[in-house]
């Protein structure tokens, strides 16, 4: 029996509501952290007008949410639909409630209680000085990789979807205007908000109608790579933007921009929830379960456990979140009681993006006759798609990996008949083929999300041809927004990590420290390295790809390992510094933290044994080296963690380490 969309939507909403009030508020906020509104936060105590600036909790929610939500909550679940919709949904819900949201909230509060320092520096207090610097170097390297990836993804997005470029051009000046209205005029916040939303809607409508294209600087083009001049030009412009945005005071651009973001993103999530509820009895046409190990990584059977942690990151849990929470967010928190909404709530909202705006819509649009209406309205019906599948030649032999060219319509619904076939040796033939119905899985991961979202909203409002298309375009714009905001936040975070990495120099050579820790210098170094990793093209497996792809396959593992280590650090902070000794509360944090550590470490070892050998040589070397370093750091930090835990156990309460205890 097909499950109705409304049933899944209701369960998801009930789980999140219960988690927020019962676990988040009653246990984490009141029993464990004991958040205190009368305690000065770093934004107040260390106010500097640039990075340490208190923000309204809804503005800060917008900032935190927009920064932690890159492409991860969308792309990961879209890939994981290969397991069917049941397992990914379970992982998102379980990961959100017991790991991701706890991880984000505790990282935020640990940082707040340590003067706004990063979770890496917090580790010094509970695991020793060595842990801090190892952790900082590891995170800084990861941030540079994030920067490279986001430079590249943004540049490609602007080349391929010029409407996203128009929106980006309009968005930043509008954000500056909103900041002006919010902070420098007597216009009420409500009036400012209404005005801002109207301007934003106008800007989005304009962007959809009027794309912004550039020819690029031809001198920058890479020979033999189509569109490389545009790519390189956008990349350099984005590097300049990221540097500028990361050194400007947060009240000037970051806070108002994220205030705007919040409305855009809430609209996006809200429309998904509303549509899921309105879709009502519409059945989910996708399978709840396909296989425990479908081919995902490098075409290899990919077991749900432990690989799921490497596939779904931000939608469930992500180490990057702890860097944001303890980086930009903790320096803007005005009141400790705001932290639950910002830290725990934003993670649940991101989970809602994965569950309600990605998994549910794709499951709904998986295989249904009405999907043809949306495909037609989007101009996809007759668009060709190349499938890799076995074909039988006229002489009766079977070629396992032939390329078959059919239309998206034919691939979605299945097709028997003549089609162009390209054999591995390059020969092109016209053969009769039998293409099984692939449903929505025929589309790439981003298209699955965009079309699924459009289909769900269009179905809910009974108009796939117009509402469905507009919703699909809106989804693409929301994704672009997630990506661009992460870029300059990551630059600022890399600067913070850089500054903390050299804090030992402050007492030894104040002059040198002033130069190295200078915000303009710190951001420039991060931007230069990130852009340099994304700028050149290299040949990987016969394809021209931006250079960071040499090591990118290792990112999922390193990021999730960071989540495990950050959660363990937070758990130790709860035990050693907050002195929460009740077993039930400690186990509630420690057990998920260790479960995550075991899952990610096993996942990395599985990835190294099964996936790495099948990657092109250059990636074997690049990504392989990074994974091996990650595994080494993993065990080193775990050893320091165990030492810290023993020390905390041995210490009498009066001797427990300081730094934010009650």
């Amino acid at each position: 029996m097909a499950v109705p969309a409304i049933a899944v939507a209701a369960i998801v909403l009930a789980v999140y509501a219960a988690a927020y009030t019962l676990y988040g508020r009653r246990i984490l906020e009141r029993r464990i952290v004991r958040a205190d509104p009368s305690r000065q936060t770093p934004a107040i105590a260390k106010f500097d007008g640039v990075d340490y600036v208190p923000a309204n909790k809804y503005v800060l929610f917008g900032h935190h949410f927009a920064s932690i939500a890159g492409a991860g909550p969308i792309v990961g679940p879209a890939i994981a639909m290969a397991y069917g919709w049941g397992l990914p949904l379970l992982w998102v819900l379980f990961g959100n409630v017991f790991i991701g949201a706890v991880h984000d909230y505790l990282a935020l509060m640990a940082s707040v209680r340590h003067g706004g320092l990063s979770i890496m520096s917090v580790s010094e207090n509970v695991m020793g000085r060595k842990a801090k610097y190892i952790f900082l170097i590891y995170v800084y390297a990861a941030l540079l990789l994030v920067l490279a990836a986001f430079f590249s993804v943004n540049a490609i997005l602007f080349v391929k979807n010029p409407s996203a470029a128009t929106k980006a051009m309009l968005y930043m000046p509008i954000a500056v205007l909103v900041g002006f209205l919010l902070y420098r005029t007597r216009l009420s916040p409500a009036a400012t908000t209404i005005l801002a939303i109207l301007v934003l809607v106008g800007a989005i409508a304009y962007s959809i109608k009027v794309p912004f294209v550039i020819p690029g600087v031809q001198a920058l083009a890479t020979e033999g790579v189509a569109g490389s001049a545009q790519y390189h030009t956008w990349l350099l412009l984005l590097a300049a933007y990221a540097w500028l945005a990361s050194v400007l005071p947060v009240w000037y651009l970051l806070q108002p921009r994220d205030y705007l973001n919040a409305y855009l993103l809430w609209s996006f999530v809200g429309l998904a929830i509303l549509s899921a509820l309105l879709a009502g009895a519409e059945p989910l046409t996708g399978p709840i379960y396909t296989s425990f190990a479908p081919p995902i990584f490098a075409g290899q059977p990919t077991p749900f456990w432990p690989a799921i942690a490497l596939i779904i990151a931000c939608g469930s849990l992500s180490g990057f979140h702890s860097i944001v929470a303890s980086g930009t967010t903790s320096k803007q928190l005005a009141n400790e009681l705001d932290a639950l909404l910002v830290g725990y709530g934003a993670m649940l909202t991101e989970g809602a993006v994965s569950s309600m705006a990605v998994i549910l819509p794709i499951a709904l649009a998986w295989f249904t006759p009405n999907f043809a209406v949306l495909m037609s309205a989007m101009g996809l019906t007759d668009k060709p798609v190349t499938l890799t599948m076995p074909v039988t030649l006229p002489d009766g032999t079977t070629v396992e990996k032939a390329k078959v060219v059919v239309t998206y319509y034919q691939a979605y619904y299945g097709y028997q008949g003549p089609a162009k076939v390209i054999l591995p040796d390059g020969r092109e033939l016209q053969l009769n083929v039998n293409v099984p119905a692939k449903g929505i899985m025929v589309f790439d991961k981003v298209q699955r999300f965009v079309l699924g979202y459009g289909y769900m909203v269009g179905t809910a409002f009974r108009d796939l041809a117009t509402v469905g298309v507009v919703a699909a375009k809106f989804a693409a714009i929301a994704l672009a927004t997630f990506i661009l905001t992460t870029l300059d936040s990551a630059t600022r975070l890399a600067r913070f990590a850089w500054q903390e990495m050299f804090d030992w120099l402050e007492s030894r050579s104040p002059g040198a420290y002033r130069v190295i820790a200078n915000p303009y210098v710190g951001s420039a170094i991060a931007v230069a390295i990130g852009a340099a990793m994304a700028y050149p093209y290299v040949t990987i497996g016969g394809k021209h790809l931006p250079a960071y792809n040499v090591i990118w396959p290792a990112f999922a593992g390193t990021n999730q390992l960071l989540a495990a280590l950050a959660l363990l650090t937070s758990a130790l902070w709860v035990y050693a510094v907050l002195k929460v000794r009740e077993a039930k509360y400690n186990l509630l944090i420690q057990v998920p933290a260790w479960f995550l550590w075991v899952t990610v470490t096993t996942g990395l070892l599985w990835w190294t044994a099964v996936v790495l050998p099948r990657l092109p040589t250059v990636q074997k070397i690049g990504a392989g080296t990074l994974v091996l370093i990650s595994i080494a750091i993993d065990f080193l930090l775990i050893a320091l963690y165990v030492t810290g835990l023993r020390r905390a156990r041995a210490a009498r309460p009066a001797e427990a380490v300081t730094g934010g205890g009650s």
């Binding site: 009027v210 912004f212 020819p215």
Partner: protein, 78 residues
């Protein structure tokens, strides 16, 4: 004072460039061209940066509303 003047000039120039480019874009249905650099494309890019830098130079200091809020919060939290 000089910085404020520079900021004001950059902001006004940025606004003019933006107004020009987006008006042209509305007429043509596209801003810029894939074949060659056009005035509207250059105007958008220049205006983008000018409108981020200009107001920052013009206003300079942290808004008094934020400074006041921090002062009050410090008093409340001791």
């Amino acid at each position: 004072m000089a910085l404020r003047a520079v900021g004001a000039v950059l902001t006004v120039v940025g606004l003019l460039l933006f107004a020009y480019a987006f008006a042209v874009g509305a007429q043509k249905g596209v801003i810029g061209s894939e074949k060659q650099w056009t005035g509207d494309a250059v105007a958008v890019l220049a205006g983008w940066f000018l409108l981020m830098i200009g107001p920052a130079l013009y206003f300079g200091k942290t808004p008094s509303s934020i400074v006041q809020a921090v002062g009050e919060a410090r008093e409340e939290t001791g």
